[in-house]
Every structure is written in C-alpha cells, then in structure tokens.
C-alpha cells in the first residue's frame, strides 16, 4: 500500500539518533550522509501523495460519514514529508466545522477501519497525536478468504 512503512532490511537500520549531526535526536531537515555531509534535497514523492488521495476519493470516501471523510482529508493535507500528520483534534474540529466530540468519534472510526494509524499518542502534556493516513480500509486491502483455502 502507498505510504505504508516497510520492514527495515538487516544491516540497513538507521544510524543512532545521538550520532546525527544536529545531536538532539531529531530527524534532520535534509537527508545527510553518515558524516553529516548534505546529500542534496530530499526527493519529493508527490506522485505517491496523489495516489493516496485518489484511491481514497475513488474507493473509500463514499462509505464514510462527512466528519470522517473531512477529518481524513485534513490529515492528508497536513501530512509532512516524513509521512505523518500532527494536528490536534481541536484544530480538526475547527477546520471541518464540527464538535470536538464528533472529531474524536471520526478519528476512532478511521482507526478502526484501518484508514488511520496513530504513530504517536498525544496528550495534554505531550501535545497532539501523530497520524499516518491510509487510503484503503483493511477489508479493501485484504481480500476475503476463500472458504476452500
């Protein structure tokens, strides 16, 4: 599926964060080699990005509530090049014109359907959650099992 992280091949684990040039463990803004030399601009994968929204609008959006579809679209809009979106539920509610409680239900429904993965769980102290959007539901991705298999 587009945007789904792949398992890391053996020997290609990322370098330790404490050894990165910025030293604070954050993901560097630009792709860098091991020794900190800039390796040019990161590749922008706009094609993937449009494939995600196209698949969502063509196959998935019609079966969702208005709040769930709009929540998904706002999170897709806010997705950064690292594949995650950090938007607070209050902000989502303001932008789609709904109550925070409606947004909360919409997020839960999207997670349950496999359209949203919570990659970092936020809180009052930890800030907003981080999400990864997926265009297709679990049922759409996993074909029904044959009764003969």
């Amino acid at each position: 599926m587009v945007g789904e992280p792949q398992p890391i091949p053996v020997g290609q684990e990322p370098p330790p964060m404490h050894r990165l040039p910025n030293g604070n463990g954050s993901t560097p803004a630009r792709h860098r080699g091991y020794n900190g030399e800039a390796k040019g601009k990161p590749a922008r994968r706009k094609g993937d990005r449009f494939a995600v929204v196209n698949a969502f609008l063509d196959f998935t959006a019609g079966g969702l509530t208005r709040a769930a579809a709009l929540t998904w679209l706002v999170l897709w809009r806010d997705t950064k090049p690292d594949g995650t979106a950090r938007t607070s539920q209050a902000d989502l509610a303001r932008r789609i014109g709904a109550d925070p409680s409606t947004v909360k239900r919409a997020v839960a429904a999207l997670v349950k359907a496999g359209l949203l993965a919570v990659v970092y769980r936020g809180s009052l102290r930890r800030g907003p959650s981080a999400y990864r959007v997926r265009p297709l539901t679990r049922e759409q991705v996993t074909p029904p099992r044959s009764p003969f298999s």
Binding site: Q6, I8, G11, S26, N35, K46, P81, Y120, R126
Partner: protein, 327 residues
C-alpha cells in the same frame, strides 16, 4: 548381573545417507545472523554455539540481535528464547532501540515524542511480522521446561541466557556436575536438529599484573564458569572482550575471540557495540578503528583528499532548506 544393552549405529547405516549428501552437494543448513563479519558465525541445526564474556560485555545484546536478525533473514525460522534475567518486554525494548536507533533510555522510560514517531513506526513494522515465530520461555527456568516449550513451539533455534542459571533435570552433587549435565542435554537438543545458542558466564582470571579481573588478557576457554564440559560440548566458543576505551558516543570495539571452532578455522571477529542502542555492527579495519567515528570505513588517501575538497565548497543557494509545509 544386568548386562547393558548395546547401543551403536553401524557405519553401513549412515553411509548411504551421507554419500547422497556429499554427491548431491547439499551443504549443511546455517541461519545467517548478518552480513560481513557476522556472516562468518555458523549457527544452524546440530550446532551448539557458546558465547561468554564479562558482565556488561554485551552478550545478551549480541544473542538477541542474532536471533532477531536470523528471523528477519530466514522466513520460516522459529526461535525460542530462555532468558532468566530479563522479561520479554525488556528484551523487546532493546530490539526497538536497535532497530530504530533511538536511545534505550528514551524507550525504557517511555519518553518518546513526535520526532521519534517515524523511526518507531518503521521499527515496529520490522518487529511485528516476527512475533509469530519468536517465543519466550516462562518460569520455571529449567531444561525440562525449555525442552517442552521448544517442542510445543516447534522451535528451530533455542537461546539459553544464561547457562549456569538453567538447571538440568535430576539431582546433582554440585554446580559443576549440574553444568556438565546441562551441556550433555544441549548436545542432545542439537543432535535432534535444532540450533542451540548459549550464553555462559565467565569467572575472573588473573590478568598480566596478577590481579583477579575480567580482563581480556586472561580470558580463555578455561574461563567459562563451573565446567570444562562447556568447551568440549560446544561446536564454537566465543568470548566477547570489549576494548577499554570508548568513543564520544559511547561505542566500543568488541572482539569476539573465537576460542574453539570444531568445523572451521578459529578466527576472531572485531565488531563495534553501541550500548545506547544495543547494536552490534561491523567495525572498520581494527587497526585504524576510531571510537569517535565507529562503523566508518577508513578512507584511502585520494578519497580523503576528495572529501576535504567537497567539504570546503559552500552549498549552492538552491540546496538551502525549504519549509516542510510547502507541499
């Protein structure tokens, strides 16, 4: 007087199967645990591999890396881990640190923030598919329970960490006899077709100044605690010896001294161990290993000159960072 029942295998019975294996060129099965230096370590069905080392040398980190990477590289492999000192969640914390490159402390104290999200997500996606093929022995930690668990889980690889704390069945006069018996059983496990990876504690020995210590100078085959049977029963014996000086980032060079190789030529391995992320990786040329820049292969004269020329060249305007918001 009771006569003991004869128990032998005639060479004629073994010969046909052996001949087929030789003539069809079927090599023995090995479970790879990495590339480069790590690929030289033979772990596979029928083999008992023993790893010793002083406390804190990275023995558990090494065997858990070996198991997880073997599971990543061999899709059908199933492994059973018996660790008497650490519960499964702690062992998984360490693997998460290794695969994500995030400090173990940050993971252990659950101080993850949004900047870790992408690495955690990818590491979880790496670990999760392995979970059906990896199991941990629950107490009691004894060999009967290990054997029953290995049968139940259909394990191809068994890890015992560590041997001196896992008693064999029956009563034994002392610790030494018990360890002898444990090794006998492990040999039988291997003969039944599983790979056995064993961590063993070592005793202090006299260093070159006559002091009692875990110094690498004094560690040898006789250092395995309790019994010489360990060295006889194992196919390969390694002792992990960390270097005394660490680098700026806490990484140290660790030599795996290959003290016994039943089937190959013993050859020491030089690795780099970064304790903060619990990761062993291939070290650069040990002669020129620099603890502050571990893992970086030494450059030739021309490569270094070229690199320094690039370093002196300012980046072009177009290479300047652009906001991540501008999709």
């Amino acid at each position: 007087m009771a006569h003991s029942k004869s128990n032998y295998t005639a060479a004629a019975d073994v010969f046909d199967g052996w001949k087929d294996e030789v003539l069809t060129g079927s090599p023995p099965t090995f479970y790879p645990i990495g590339s480069g230096e790590l690929a030289r370590i033979e772990i596979g069905p029928g083999l008992v591999t023993l790893l010793g080392g002083a406390p804190g040398a990275g023995k558990t980190a090494f065997v858990m890396q070996a198991v997880v990477d073997a599971l990543r590289l061999v899709p059908a492999l199933r492994a059973l881990v018996c660790n008497v000192e650490m519960p499964p969640k702690v062992l998984l914390d360490r693997q998460l640190a290794r695969l994500s490159g995030i400090d173990l402390d940050t993971i252990r104290y659950r101080r993850l923030t949004a900047e870790h999200a992408e690495r955690i997500d990818q590491a979880m996606h790496t670990l999760e598919p392995l979970t059906d093929r990896l199991a941990f022995v629950r107490p009691p930690f004894n060999l009967e329970n290990v054997a029953a668990s290995a049968d139940g889980f259909r394990a191809d690889m068994i890890v015992l960490d560590y041997l001196q704390r896992i008693p064999p069945p029956g009563e034994h006069a002392d610790k030494r006899v018990a360890v002898n018996a444990t090794m006998d059983y492990l040999r039988q496990f291997a003969d039944a077709g599983v790979a056995v990876l064993v961590v063993a504690a070592v005793g202090r020995t006299k260093d070159n100044k006559g002091r009692s210590s875990y110094s690498g100078d004094g560690l040898n085959l006789a250092s395995f605690r309790e019994s010489s049977e360990l060295e006889f029963g194992a196919d390969d014996c390694f002792i992990a010896v960390p270097s005394e000086d660490g680098g700026e980032y806490g990484a140290v060079a660790v030599t795996l001294r290959h003290l016994k190789a039943r089937h190959t030529r013993a050859q020491d391995l030089t690795l780099e161990f970064d304790g903060r992320v619990q990761r062993f990786s291939e070290a650069a040329d040990p002669q020129t290993w620099n603890p502050d820049r571990p893992g970086k292969p030494p450059r030739g004269r021309l490569q270094s000159a070229l690199a320094s020329a690039w370093a002196k060249t300012p980046p072009a305007e177009a290479d300047a960072d652009q906001g991540a918001e501008s999709w």
